[in-house]
């Protein structure tokens, strides 16, 4: 019997306990011993890896607050749950760590974590922080920060590999979502954009849409969101777009909403946010949450990790 009334309460509750409650060691109970965590930055295997990663992140930003914006979920007590947890993270960079020496700067970023939960234990995970927005707030360009990261990790031969599908290990969760029409609706919109039918934005988005995209990019209205999606696709015009997981929900008193996990796999063959084409093979792990309203898609949050993309490009060219 869970200590928590609902799956969303469980996710919000253990997140608070682990981070702000400092119960880092409780990860030994809330995370599976052999869990597979696919962070955009690296594949992490087993609870001990997650614990070290969590400790390092807390040491760098000890006053970090994780504000749970939404939990979009599916599944059941019997089969287990898949939770897509969107959070806002704020903290002050007062400690040493992967972001270098403390800068005293205050950082606000976003994160989406897809976790598989069985009997109150997380045994499978896909995770993306908007690292690019963090490094920009700390005064770096995402490209230069990725280059420095490679150097700090011992050069191209030693540096940690960002997550790519060839590293993947099968975890216990093999589901693809809940078959809800709102999940299909968002998946269709993303598929059309990635199939170069950018006009879908004009058809399916609210004129007053607000959005957040990787790199801390925010904006209002269709033209701005179209431009952002085109920028991403233009850098990887030949890459294969895949939808991995889709959840839709229609809960009383809540906006109609959906969560999609997707990826782009292929060559960096176009000009765009990642400079001149290099031909590097790149895996982009992407997450999109959306809320629908009476006039279409009205709020969209899409995360991927621009520093992990840069790192793949730089490692391929090294």
């Amino acid at each position: 019997m869970s200590r928590f009334a609902t799956l969303p309460d469980y996710i919000q509750g253990v997140t608070f306990e682990i981070w702000e409650g400092r119960q880092i060691a409780s990860l030994r109970e809330s995370y599976g011993t052999d869990m597979v965590m696919r962070s955009t930055q690296a594949l992490i295997l087993g609870t001990e890896g997650v614990i070290k990663d969590t400790l390092a992140a807390q040491a760098a930003f000890p006053d970090r607050e994780i504000l749970g914006d939404d939990v979009i979920w599916c599944g059941s007590e019997a089969e287990g749950y898949l939770s897509s947890h969107r959070s806002v993270i704020t903290g002050t960079h007062t400690g040493h760590g992967v972001f270098g020496a403390p800068t005293g700067k205050r950082v606000t970023t976003r994160c989406i974590a897809d976790c598989f939960v069985q009997d109150d234990v997380i045994t499978d995970e896909w995770l993306c922080y908007d690292v690019s927005s963090m490094v920009q707030q700390l005064g770096h360009s995402p490209r230069d920060w990725a280059a420095e990261q490679i150097a700090r990790e011992g050069g191209p031969d030693q540096a940690t590999r960002p997550f790519t599908p060839d590293q993947d290990r099968p975890g216990p969760y093999a589901g693809t979502g809940n078959g809800h029409e709102l999940g299909d609706r968002l998946a269709d919109i993303l598929s059309r954009i990635m199939d170069y039918d950018v006009a879908t934005v004009g058809r399916d988005y609210d004129r007053a849409v607000s959005f957040y995209h990787a790199g801390g990019v925010t904006g209002w209205g269709r033209p701005a969101v179209e431009a952002e999606w085109m920028q991403l696709r233009a850098a990887f015009p030949d890459a294969r777009f895949t939808i991995h997981h889709k959840t839709g929900r229609n809960d009383p008193g809540e906006p109609d909403r959906a969560a999609i996990r997707w990826s782009l796999d292929g060559a960096h063959s176009g000009h765009g946010r990642f400079g001149a084409p290099t031909g590097a093979q790149v895996h982009t792990m992407g997450f999109t949450h959306a809320e629908f309203g009476p006039w279409g898609l009205r709020r969209e949050w899409s995360l991927w990790d621009e520093t992990a993309i840069w790192k793949q490009i730089l490692l391929a060219g090294a």
């Binding site: 969303p8 919000q12 607050e65 504000l67 749970g68 914006d69 939404d70 959070s87 806002v88 704020t90 606000t108 004129r207 007053a208 607000s210 209002w220 209205g221 229609n250 008193g253 809540e254 906006p255 109609d256 629908f292 309203g293 009476p294 006039w295 009205r298």
Partner: protein, 327 residues
């Protein structure tokens, strides 16, 4: 909708369509049809009567910001129980534009602004005939490079000095329009009204009780923040500037629509002395009227999105006119 053109499917559709038609599609002359001839429009900057004034004001703003867009973020609405076919729409917009023309903000700066507006409009038979409109003028001023304190002084000077300038709205100037409703009885409206009332009664613990820890608050001055701290600090600073002012709730709407969060719209005011520190400098004793509008959305863990607009420039103008420090 009774007595409305059949091109409109419901009240929000009517509001969104005519807003776009008037502004972005340049249909200023449609205001002769859509706005009542004698409509009282209560801006924090002053009371305006009649659609002719509305048309001229719209034209002046379009000349100043010709690429201005008005994106309707939400329409929270109610039906008048006494007067069939009459509605009240509380329309929250995000509006943006580039300052390329001469106007109320001085010579063009080429700067862009992005602010929120809440417009409460009463509508019947295709016509808006009563209105309360709060723009985040402080937010525009800041983004165009003004300090709102100084912009209020500039307004006084360019409107002919302290004796001739337009008087910011005060309830003493008010007139009765055709709409006498107070909203609806939905519990979410009552809940928002109660939160605001408790804060104005100086019980600021209400925020931790009622708000989601991850709440996003968007306030006047185009400022916003996350969680309890921002909301608490901002509301305390506002109340602290006018600690003895009378707080009044004027209009309350709550809604539960399928596929949409529980939400509410409340129009309120503070009327009284500028007798404390907070947002508006050292206390001056000026008599001030603050016209405010708040929208909120709830989620599983409490109030998760709060939007409050008031016009700082209109407040500063009342303070300057009281102190005489207008240069």
């Amino acid at each position: 909708m009774k007595d409305f053109s059949n091109q409109f499917k419901d009240l929000p559709d009517y509001i969104l369509k005519i807003t776009k038609e008037i502004w972005e599609d340049r249909g200023l002359s449609t205001l002769h049809h859509y706005y009542g001839k004698d409509i009282p429009m209560r801006f924090p900057s002053g009371l305006v009567r009649g659609n002719a004034g509305v048309i001229d004001g719209t034209l002046a703003t379009l000349c100043e910001f010709p690429d201005r867009q008005l994106l309707g973020e939400d329409v929270i609405w109610s039906q008048d129980t006494q007067d069939t076919g009459r509605y009240l729409s509380s329309h929250r917009l995000v509006t943006m534009g580039t300052h390329t023309g001469h106007g109320a903000f001085g010579p063009p700066t080429g700067k862009r602004f992005e602010i929120r507006v809440i417009a409460d409009c009463a509508a019947k038979a295709d016509v808006i005939d009563d209105e309360w409109l709060i723009r985040d003028v402080g937010g525009i001023a800041r983004q165009l490079g003004w300090d709102p304190v100084e912009y209020a002084r500039y307004q006084i000077q360019t409107e002919g000095g302290p004796d001739k300038c337009q008087r910011p709205f005060h309830p003493d100037h008010d007139v009765d329009g055709p709409y006498m409703g107070r909203g609806n009885d939905n519990e979410w409206g009552q809940r928002l009204a109660s939160i605001l009332t408790q804060m104005m009664d100086k019980d600021f613990t209400v925020i931790r009780r009622e708000y989601d820890r991850a709440a996003r608050t968007e306030h006047w001055g185009a400022r916003g923040g996350w969680s309890f701290d921002f909301a608490e600090t901002d509301w305390m600073r506002l109340r602290s500037s006018f600690p003895t002012a009378a707080f009044k709730i004027h209009h309350v709407i709550g809604r539960e629509d399928p596929g949409t969060p529980y939400r509410a719209a409340v129009r309120w005011s503070l009327t009284g002395k500028h007798s404390g520190h907070g947002f508006f400098g050292a206390p001056t004793g000026a008599e001030v009227h603050v016209m405010g509008a708040t929208h909120a959305e709830w989620g599983e863990w409490g109030l998760r999105r709060e939007f409050t607009i008031l016009d700082e420039v209109a407040i500063w103008k009342q303070i300057h006119l009281h102190t005489g420090n207008v240069e």
